[in-house]
Amino acid sequence: METEILRALADPTRRAVFERLAVGEMSVGALKANFAISQPAISQHLAQLRKAGLVAERRSGRNTYYVAKPDGLDPLLSWLDRYSAFWPQKIERLKTILKGMDQ
């Protein structure tokens, strides 16, 4: 989860798109004008951001609007990722220490 978020934000253009969408909702056309890059490139960036759970889309008529999800960078999730890796290591260490302890 966290790796995907970091990967999505590693690209400077994608990060700029995310930061722009954190300010407010925008269509692909408006984003294209803001960032002076091609529509396929914008769509590619948006797909990556959506996959990482950082951006949501809303369809209205012929237009699709995008907005940053406020909880996309949830500190609780990065906490869970950290401690999901932390405890198994500590448990293995505890098992080793227990074997070496006196009764």
Binding site: L76, W79, Y83, K90, I91, R93, I97, L98
Partner: protein, 145 residues
């Protein structure tokens, strides 16, 4: 083997691990509550196994983790508040619970639950400000039984 169960509740999340150890409960309890032994397997600490006792866990090249024992019952469970540098920065509050129980084979089943939630106070609040909310967090655990 240990397992990782993630639970999502309204305002808190947790990771839980369970494992069966061949050693008896008394020995596992010593490993969980003796300062010198905890310093060897978890992190260097000045732990004191008494309710209300404050201590720190020192991670290499990191700010210390501030802890305070919320509840403890000899050879059953120990629960403490756990605030690392990220928690202080992001306004999070967490509790760690170690629960142990004897198994039929004379060994010990160890359950570790680490629950995290947003502290009621803002991120810049003193480290002690969130400890009161930890009791609510812990109330959701089946240890209450």
């Amino acid at each position: 083997m240990s397992e990782d169960h993630r639970k999502d509740k309204a305002h808190s999340r947790s990771v839980a691990f369970e494992c069966d150890l061949p050693e008896p409960v008394e020995k596992v309890w010593r490993a969980l509550t003796t300062r010198e032994i905890v310093s060897e397997w978890l992190l260097p600490t000045d732990l004191k196994p008494e309710k209300g006792a404050r201590f720190t866990l020192s991670e290499p090249a990191k700010e210390p983790i501030d802890c305070e024992i919320i509840s403890i019952e000899e050879q059953r469970f120990i629960r403490f508040g756990w605030r690392d540098a990220e928690a202080r920065r992001d306004g999070l509050s967490s509790t760690v619970t170690f629960e142990i129980a004897a198994t039929e084979s004379g060994g010990t089943r160890l359950t570790i639950v680490h629950e995290v939630r947003y502290a009621a106070r803002p991120a810049r609040a003193p480290a002690t400000a969130c400890l009161a909310s930890n009791d609510n967090a812990a109330a959701g655990l089946r240890l209450a039984a």
